[in-house]
Amino acid sequence: MFVNVLRAQQTKTLASGVLWVELAALAAITALLVTLTNTMTELKADAPVTLAGQMNEMLQHAGTSTMGHVLAVVLAGAVMAQEYNWRSLHLWLSQGVSRTTLLWTKLVSLIVPVALFFVVTAAVTAAVAGGFLYVEHGSIGPVAGELVDLLRTAGLGAYGVLPFAALALLLAVTGRSMLVAVGGGLALTMMGEMLFVQIMGMIGGRALDLVAYLPGSLVPGLLGMEIEAYQPLEPGAAAAVIAMYTGLFMVAATLIFRRQDLHD
């Protein structure tokens, strides 16, 4: 049953208008960032001179900046809240699909769209940066040898986005509305974490170590990046904490969903 429901969920998620709007926006933003990187003198000085280097940088940016998190929150919150609005939850549940299966397949069905965020980032960067590099240097540098690294960055970045998708699902189930899911998710992602970092910075000392455990601080740890403001977790620990956050949010969402009365 899980696989069959997942197939249906995947079809529905990939048909979501929100996903395609997000991908279009992401493509436009990526194209703009890559153009600025290759044209503005200050940015150009620090930019890698190979295509693989620029792609890796943009993929890291998609995974670690709020951009990837925001896209995941908006997509997950919207697709789940729409299920309540459209009453498609009623239809599926009344056909004998269990609530737990429905919710967890929803999360799993978000993996492909999240992966698409990174595919689009990579593709647009390749096209735009490739153009600039070829015009300027007559070459785009070696790419084939860097493919494993690029895939690793994209894969880990996508994995790091999962807690945000789970958080949005939890908020959508709790509030049964897109406003609560997307608005609440964005507030927590964009302002909540920032506020926490500022408070910990003011306290200083050991308190600052806690910043590394925030969902938004885990991907740098996962990618083994150096961060000035705090010491990121080791990759293994970061991966475990990401799984823990995702699991916690999903278990809470499942418990709430299983207790809900679904009426008009």
Partner: protein, 333 residues
């Protein structure tokens, strides 16, 4: 139509509720509801808006938690945490839950993805069955309410269910559409599908249902075969000169549940025209004209719930309306 499900459902009752109750805060939406729907019948579940029909169906479909009591489908208990028994059930509850940006055909194909046994041919067959082949390629957001209802019905039929639970399926349909749905329901019943039909349109029930449960303010007020309910609700109309005298006399006649003077006429319920005439003649009152009106389900329902104009259900409540029929009546109603 039915029977492709892999469930082995041998029990006589395909849908049963026992002492089913639902409370929302202080409001008791459903009280001690006992339903028993037999395999192959078209079962009407009737009551005015707000009487608790949708709440009951919500509990039957595992969408709502009962406050007390239980629901069994094909003999298996159904709760929001265990809805496996519903895999052999098709349902339509309120506005069908479709993806508005997808076409009708794509919505059905989406549902079919959950069940590998449903192929593309079956989707087309269902679209044809509900009369949506022409509009199948259009997005659902452009559908009229009636078209959405048809699509919802199609979704309910897609996996060849053995039990169909429908909540107000003719909502938004024009009279021709309503008739089509009624005919469709009878065809399904002929094919062996059990239909549980909730509606406030009594005319609809009278035409398609074998048995009914009447609900008012969350309580079951009557249950039984439609024919029995209707025969119990026979109305005798008598025209005579001494209206007041005759009314007094008939009020004392055993079995009479209501006596209503209307101009030169008296309307009597609960007994046959022959009994009325014999009684009047014995008391020296000669009727000038006698007619025998068979009550429709609406008047029976209004009498039972006390909502009809001039309704008079007597001391014994609705029970006296059906003295000779095997009808279950909740005396507390």
């Amino acid at each position: 139509m039915a029977g492709s499900s892999d469930h082995s459902h041998d029990c006589e009752f395909v849908l049963q509720t026992s002492g089913l109750s639902k409370r929302f805060g202080q409001v008791k939406a459903i009280s001690d509801l006992d339903l028993a729907v037999r395999r192959g019948e078209v079962y009407g579940f009737i009551g005015p808006n707000g009487s608790g029909k949708t709440t009951t169906i919500g509990m039957c479909l595992g969408l709502m938690h009962p406050t007390s009591g239980s629901v069994r489908v094909f003999g298996q208990k159904v709760t929001p945490r265990d809805t496996r028994a519903l895999r052999g059930v098709g349902s339509l509850m309120g506005t069908p839950g479709m993806v508005p940006s997808m076409s009708g055909r794509k919505n059905l194909r989406l549902l079919a993805r959950m069940r590998p046994e449903i192929d593309a041919e079956r989707v087309e067959e269902v679209l044809d069955f509900v009369g949506l082949t022409q509009a199948a390629g259009r997005r659902v957001k452009g559908y009229s309410l009636g078209m959405r209802q048809r699509l919802g019905l199609g979704a309910a039929l897609l996996h060849r269910p053995e039990l169909l639970i429908l909540d107000e399926p003719t909502n938004g349909l024009d009279p021709a559409g309503m008739r089509e749905i009624r005919e469709l329901l009878r065809r399904l019943a002929d094919d062996g599908v059990t239909v549980f039909l909730s509606t406030h349109l009594l005319h609809e029930v009278e035409q398609v249902c074998d048995r009914v449960t009447m609900l008012a303010k969350g309580r079951q007020v009557a249950q039984g075969p439609v024919a029995n309910l209707l025969s119990g609700g026979e109305t005798v109309r008598v025209r005579l000169a001494e209206i007041a005298l005759a009314a007094n006399s008939l009020n004392s006649l055993s079995g009479v549940t209501a006596v209503r003077p209307k101009g030169q006429w008296l309307e009597i319920e609960g007994v046959s025209s022959k009994t009325v005439v014999v009684h009047l003649v014995r008391h020296g009152l000669v009727p000038e004209e006698v007619t025998n009106g068979r009550a429709d389900l609406e008047s029976v329902f209004l009498n039972l719930t006390g909502e009809g104009e001039g309704a008079d259900i007597g001391d014994g409540g609705g029970a006296q309306l059906f003295p000779d029929t095997p009808v279950l009546v909740d005396s507390a109603a």
